[in-house]
Amino acid sequence: MNKRFLPGKLLPVWIAVSAILIVVGVVLFSLFGFNYASPEKKTVEISYDAVVYIEEKEEKLAEECEKVFSQNMLEYTAKKTDRELDVNYVAETGNYLLVYTFSSDVKDETLQTAAASLQTALEGNSEFGGDIFVSAHTLAGEQFHEASWRAAIALGVAAIVALVYVGFRFGWDCAISGLVACVNDTLLTLALFAIARIPVYAYGPVLFAGIAAVFSAILWLAQCMKMRENFKDPAYTSLTAQEAVGVSVAGSWKFVCCFVLPLAVVFAVLGIIASNGLRLFLLPVLLPLAVSVYSSFLLAPAVLVPLKSKFDKMKSSRKKYVGKKKAEVQE
């Protein structure tokens, strides 16, 4: 007989793996917190008028700025050009603002020195006209907490609703296992973010934890669908709960991969090819996806086995009771 995958036997192992990772995550979180991307950034702004634009000297101006930055050992992280608008007509005035963004680690004095050298260099260059002004700034972002807590509640409620549906469609043993998986995935995702030091924005950990709960519920739903279909097969009637769940889970990898792989490919391709802002969200989202794959294949089936045994026993005892009642009626 082939060696079968018996998920229930490995339950202590998966509990230990999750517990160790979560405890390590909690310790690292209490020591260092999450690796929040700094809400602070520094900029150098160069305001110039239409003369530079009309004479097509914008590239030259940018070159001059970047030359001064490299002389001052400064490397910018982003560059953009904003257009000044008239407040009354919301029409362009012809003035522009070239903005260079630097890391928050850059010293204020270095940036001020670079800005002063740039002002001198640009003032001394007659091709850019006279009206050029350079200034250095430090910006610290403010957080809007309402969006974060509402996002967490929304995703949490959505995961619970999905599990209630699982309960009605596939049985409450499946719903309870799914709930355990959801809680585990939420905590494990937070722990892994703390352990792996993945840079996140302030809203990040809460959002990714919520996403993990939703992924977990959806993948467990897929497993439940497959189990329900498989358990109708007469070959499964002779198997114990442990064996039936094991055989079904082992055979469902293609089915679950149908959901996971396209999502992973979509997130990875969009994350790699698309721009920085999307990348900051799409690449870390692969972590909750991986965590939910772990729990839907290993942890949740292991939790389901004892529950299913108990629920099956309850069902069969109920059947006996009904039989007795019928017999009494016949008498």
Binding site: E84, R150, F267, A274
Partner: protein, 503 residues
Amino acid sequence: MGKIKSAIVLTLITLIVAVLCVVCFVPFPLGGDGIHYFNPIINWADKSADLGGYQFGEEAGYLGGSYAVVFYPEGVVSAKDYADDQNAGTEGKTEYVAYAGGSVYLDKEKVCNGGTEPTAEFKAAFDAQLNCLKERFARLHSEGLTLEVRDGFTVYATLPASLDASVAAFLYYSYMGNVTVLYGTSSDATSASQIIPEAGSKAKPSSEYIKSASVRTNVGTPYVEVDFTDAGLELISNATSGAADSAGYLFVQVGGETVINLSVSEQISDDLYISGSYTSDSATIVANTIDTALDFEKMEFGMKMGELYRVDGGFAPLTLGSVSLSALDLVYIAFGVLFLAMAVFFLVRYGRLGFVNILTYLLFLELMVLIYWAVPIAIGTGAIVALAISSALLCVSNAVSFEAARKEYAVGKTIASSVKTGYKKCFWHIFDLHIVLLAVALLVYLIAITELSAFGLALTFGVALSGLGTLLLNRFLWYVTMGLSKQPGKFCHFKREEVEDDE
């Protein structure tokens, strides 16, 4: 379906897909004058602050991005304004001290009390102003808004250009200070008399007279409601008692700036309901300005709005040699790569049946773009991720139905019977998945705000269309294309299981 009928129906559907594709995605010149362009729906659709910028010709249309301003508290000026002030002459000039390495300049008397550092009172006042601004911006529930403290004592704020009345929001939100209500017989507020708060010894804070200001809608028309206390209502009622005989003007001001100006032709004896040319966004802005000013009444310093800027997509564009790619270009490329991968997979695995999936997907994509434009849903991170997830869901569901039919065909059924039984067998899988995702998406839309709410709404439409696409359109197209082939099994790359002969 006969071969000719199948060919006609398929041609018609392909034509519809092609026309919709042009309408949704392809810009082209009109009239040959180089000025007029056909702007596809994707250009018309709102873009969030993350994406956008002017692309198809400088003035071709609005394509997302955001507006930005810097708020300066009274007594704080920018380095540029300070330099201009210095160059303008010396007479009657305010004395300033440099702050944050000369990034801003502070009024020596007003802010620093004659010293070189800002006073504790000024710092407390700035904190109150910042909290008030934060509350006002938070109440907009708008995706893509940012608020940053710049150089210690100024505030840099951005709002998405897709938000109606973004510029008005900046202007109104810079008004700090007491709420006052004035009444006069001329439309000029300077000649009106203050009625709230009551002048003289009875003076109390405005919150003793006005409970709140909020936005309401009546048959889809938004209006601002100002809810007075009994004391406030009595004062208003007394002041407007003669309005029936000679019309007057009522002004609601915040920090001395008028935010509501209305003519009164009868006595006001109830809460004030102000309708007019408000949109939902502009009514929210006016109501927020008044309501938050009631919470933050004790403002020692005013605030003013600096220059207004148009900021293109916030994502850093990619430059490859001489070609500069915007955030939107990168998203198009990413979707193009995924579309190609999907098409190759389906054509290799299912042969010409792959075209059925491609047609279904293209129609789904075009309908999603039309929905984004019509609802409207601003195209940003949330909408893009929702589109990606629902696209994956549609393709996976189609693949699941194809596989189910393949299994049935393998055991010897006819293709028509395989399709019917295959769909029957996988129906509940597809239904369960779609219904759960639909519930998740709806809940996220209803509970969350800003970007996640947009994601929820976009995913709700995406999941609904994916379900309809798989269970109705994909099956119908399969049925139609099947009529074109004499060997339907070969057409779908389906094979019979080989049965071992015992003899």
